[in-house]
């Protein structure tokens, strides 16, 4: 009952031109301190909306979020967000980007020297000490995301919220970043909610994977416990039957719950007779059409 972070019957409805649209319906999730939870689901199912509600950037229409027995109703540094596109200030150096957050959060509790120390410490943690004076435009995408992570960690958040943090990176950089994140997680043991599209990433990093049904009215479909020993090594896990089983579970869920398929395979020999009133839109590239006499 008294879990660290409780997402309690959260629902959200947005007004649209075609009437109200219920994006989330009765999302329930209990997260323990130090737990790493991934949210996975198809595009547009409302994963980011869940994260934004926890962050306080959006207000739930029904239900609510309770963090350490207190209701969340506005954004705050105790729920740091790492955005997909890093969101660094382009006019500030790497150091100043993190320092801005440090200055704001520890205005009163830390002295100037301590804040400088803390900024450098967090950049050290993500291996960015060599580029303190560079501007975001002068570093690679992976490095930018490292700085984004350092900024979030520097806020000493109760919960770290990551919105597809590595989605915009190439796969090699992404593996590096995942390893770095695991390393940091071993050290700090943060409570994390991460949104991802990547099944491997979810299984590798998470303690639990929350699989969401498709929207509208999306909710939690299944929750999968990932009972793999830490520290995890991606190469060793590739051969691990348990790992592959988890992977398969997630893939199966995503495939089966694919209630609104983006692609329809229409085979000419099949005649669609059942449900004659259902409208189906079929699109085909002209070059893949062939006229046969």
């Amino acid at each position: 009952m008294n879990s660290y972070l409780k997402i309690d019957h959260v629902g959200i409805t947005f007004p649209t031109d075609n009437g109200p649209l219920e994006v989330l319906k009765s999302v329930n999730l209990d997260i323990e301190q130090g737990e790493f939870v991934s949210l996975i689901g198809h595009s547009g199912c409302g994963k980011s909306t869940v994260l934004n509600i926890v962050a306080g950037l959006l207000q739930a229409s029904t239900g609510g979020v309770i963090l350490e027995e207190k209701e969340v109703d506005e954004p705050g540094p105790d729920r740091a967000v790492i955005f997909q596109n890093h969101s660094l200030m382009p006019w500030l150096s790497v150091y100043d980007n993190v320092r801005l957050a440090v200055d704001q959060v520890f205005k009163r509790s830390k002295s100037k020297a301590e804040r400088d120390e803390w900024t450098r410490h967090n950049l050290e943690l993500v291996h960015m000490s060599h580029a303190l004076d560079r501007k975001p435009d002068e570093i690679s995408g992976g490095m930018k995301q490292r700085v984004g992570i350092a900024r979030a960690l520097a806020m000493e958040p109760k919960v770290l919220l990551m919105d597809e943090p590595f989605g915009a990176l190439d796969s090699l950089t992404r593996t590096h970043m995942q390893d770095s994140l695991m390393e940091i997680q071993t050290e700090l043991n943060n409570t994390v909610i991460m949104i991802t599209h990547d099944v491997d990433e979810a299984v590798l990093l998470s303690d639990r994977i929350v699989m969401m049904t498709n929207g509208p009215s999306a909710t939690v479909g299944e929750i999968l416990e990932i009972d793999l020993p830490r520290p995890r090594d991606r190469l060793a896990l590739a051969e691990n039957p348990q790992y592959n089983h988890y992977r398969a579970e997630v893939v199966r869920f995503l495939h089966e719950r694919h209630e609104q398929p983006a692609r329809v395979d229409v085979k000419p020999e099949e005649t669609v007779t059942e449900e004659p009133l259902q409208k189906v839109k079929v699109a085909a590239k002209p070059e893949s059409l062939r006229l046969v006499s």
Binding site: G76, V81, F83, P90, K135
Partner: protein, 343 residues
């Protein structure tokens, strides 16, 4: 792919690119190429322009004689500069004379008031071309700075609030296209009614010109600042919300720096407009400055007038260009967005 390559070859055969391609060998040659691009090409273009001007002007007969060519204009430039120096010499001589008179009065034991009269006597000469340039520059900068001080804060406020944007937008849109010449009578009458003082700090004519410049400089800066402010990335705003930045901190640390490139775009447009407006206002109102110089020469109608007006036209163009370059340099130094194309 194949066709694309063939096409390039066909289109690349003009001599200029061939010459450049020949030169592109090593680093030194690359620099030579750059030099050609940045120096020789513009100089050649200016040369061709002067030739065409010289050849064309000869054929235009006016009431004040033949339209002057580049040589005549250059001659007048030198003359105008000479007149300026002569005037300055006269001025120095005048003050030296007054100084001498004061000395003499002191030696003769005249009262202090008498001595001060000599020392405080101001030289009243005619404003030379160079003086007019100085007056115009001072006026445009005053008007522009005043406009910027008003427009940037308004732009920020309008850009941050949708309601205020809706409120201000019609006003801005209506005043933006108003010609400076329409403002001028209003400003002149209002200034002469409101600005009444025994010992005025500024000349009324200076105020009139500067205020007309201000009125025309406001709009581009307001519009661009508002666009810059309202276009701050949503993610950065979310960062400021997560950090719980206060309104002031958010404005100073995120909104303002983020819109600096747009603000500079507005300022550059404003200064360009301000300079054009000023010349027109000076001409119409007979306020001191380059515009008055042009108007006086036009009224004068001597055989040199056309050449002197052309000197003024070129000077106006050159100063406008330098003002724009100055703003560009400021922009390069202050703007974080180095990727923006600065032209």
């Amino acid at each position: 792919m194949e066709t694309a390559v063939v096409e390039r070859k066909v289109f690349d055969i003009d001599w200029y690119h061939r010459l450049l391609a020949l030169m592109e060998g090593d680093d030194l040659n690359k620099r030579v190429t750059q030099l050609i691009h940045s120096l020789i090409v513009p100089i050649a273009a200016i040369g061709i322009f002067l030739m065409l001007w010289g050849a064309g002007a000869k054929n235009v007969e006016t009431s004040l004689g033949v339209l002057p060519g580049p040589a005549k204009v250059w001659e007048q430039t030198v003359t105008l500069y000479g007149e300026h120096n002569a005037e300055k010499d006269k001025e120095t001589a005048f003050y030296e004379r007054m100084q001498a008179k004061a000395e003499k009065a002191r030696e003769a034991g005249k009262p202090q008031a008498k001595i001060d009269k000599y020392l405080n006597r101001k030289y009243v000469g005619t404003a030379t071309f160079v003086d007019q340039i100085g007056t115009s520059l001072l006026t445009v900068m005053s008007g522009f700075i005043l406009a910027s001080l008003i427009a940037i804060p308004i732009g920020i406020i309008v850009g941050m609030s949708n309601t205020l944007y809706q409120a201000f937008n019609p006003i801005i849109q209506i005043f933006k296209p108003v010609s400076p010449l329409a403002w001028l009578p209003l400003v002149t009458i209002v200034v002469s009614a409101v600005y009444v003082s025994e010992d005025p700090m500024f000349e009324k004519s200076f105020l009139n010109s500067a205020l007309v410049v201000t009125l025309c400089c406001l709009w581009p800066t307001i519009v661009n600042t508002a666009v810059g402010v309202s276009g701050v990335s949503k993610d950065l705003i979310n960062v400021s919300r997560v950090l719980k930045l206060s309104w002031l901190t958010k404005t100073m640390k995120i909104v303002l720096p983020s819109s600096v490139p747009m603000i500079f775009t507005g300022l550059r447009l404003s200064l360009g407009i301000g300079w054009m407006v000023l010349i027109a206002a000076e001409m119409l109102a007979q306020n001191p400055g380059l515009g008055k110089f042009v108007w006086d020469e036009f009224q004068n109608g001597s055989s040199n007038s056309l050449a002197r007006i052309m000197v003024a036209v070129l000077a106006i163009g050159f100063i406008g260009f330098m003002l724009d370059r100055g703003m560009l340099m400021l922009q390069k130094n202050f703007s974080w967005d180095k990727s923006a194309v600065l032209r």
